[in-house]
Symmetry: C2
Subunit: 201 residues, 2 copies
């Protein structure tokens, strides 16, 4: 059921399985890291399962119903937020919390598909202005309702408001811990962005 790279109580003195998968408990090894106890293990497995299934599920719904990949949708959504439907590449990368490279690769493919257009000369000769094409706007306008419906059916419908708030709080705390652990990178430099006003159809 839970399946997935599941752990296994190794041996020795270490309480139980490691993070979520392993089976290498033993006593030797380095560190005196406390293994996860059964309860913690269940928590981690549940979270792990969510990580492995939610993102792909969202992507698949978009792909299936709108022919857009998750990242493409994110870019189009970001552009659609802007009154002009046009933002600097670097700004978009910051808003998305992505690295420039990642966005650049994606924009190349999206430009080829006609979803966005790049005009290379702003006031700063280095930047590029990314603009939503009409095809891009149609795509996002058509994809949004289904996306919202899906998210609602998958994360909101099965949770009570209290559970939703608890989830938000947990997410915030974990995210904060990740950020102060130095183990992130592009995702962390995000700054501004809020919600302007959507141009819409």
């Amino acid at each position: 059921m839970e399946a997935h790279a599941t752990p296994a109580e190794p041996v020795a003195d270490a309480p139980v399985a490691n993070a979520a998968e392993t089976g290498v408990g033993t006593d030797s090894s380095a560190s005196q890291s406390r293994w996860l106890d059964p309860r913690e293990r269940e928590v981690w497995l549940a979270l792990r399962h969510l990580l492995w299934s939610l993102q792909p599920a969202v992507d698949r719904q978009l792909q299936r119903d709108s022919g857009l990949s998750g990242p493409e949708y994110s870019v189009l959504a970001t552009l659609s937020e802007d009154p002009q439907g046009m933002v600097r590449s670097g700004t978009a990368a910051r808003m998305l919390g992505w690295g420039r490279s990642r966005l650049s690769h994606l924009l190349r493919r999206m430009e080829a598909k006609g979803l966005i257009a790049r005009s290379c000369s702003p006031d700063d000769g280095r930047g590029q202005d990314i603009a939503l094409t009409s095809a891009g706007r149609s795509a996002i306008v058509e994809a949004a309702p289904g996306h919202v419906d899906f998210v609602r059916s998958v994360v909101f419908d099965p949770l009570s408001p209290e559970q939703q708030d608890a989830l938000r709080e947990a997410c915030h705390r974990i995210s904060a811990a990740i950020e102060s652990s130095g183990t992130c990178e592009a995702v962390c430099e995000a700054e501004d962005s809020g919600c302007d006003e959507g141009p819409a159809a």
Copy 2:
């Protein structure tokens, strides 16, 4: 701060932003999907942020401290669970909740690195037995403690036991909703597997 493909109140009658990013509210569009209200939006953004940061963080920690990718670690962990350190390819795929193709590609690379070995003849001529090499076993044994420490520091330390349980429950519910939405695939067919006993060093 939250940044990320953030929404934007579009226009019209629709309450607010869509799932988490968009800006294409409008009144037209199809469906009468209820947009997310501000509170829901916050929940979704927090979850979205977690999805985008936790998995990469775990992968980076593994890569940095052990030279293993996340998927590689999962495979090694799965093999290490088995007393023989050897399982059928298809079985491993089921335990991991992965597609056969995905595993096959990964195994090819792992075999090239000497982490695992494939012996092609079991009782069933189609299958392959995947075995942990000594190098593979060393790798997982060395990587596990750091992995557990990281998971502990990032998801358990910042949460009270009550919050952890609430998180588990929320994850279960969302995962269940995903599975009954038909928007998953390989991840969902998992069956058996629990925790045997770890072979360890």
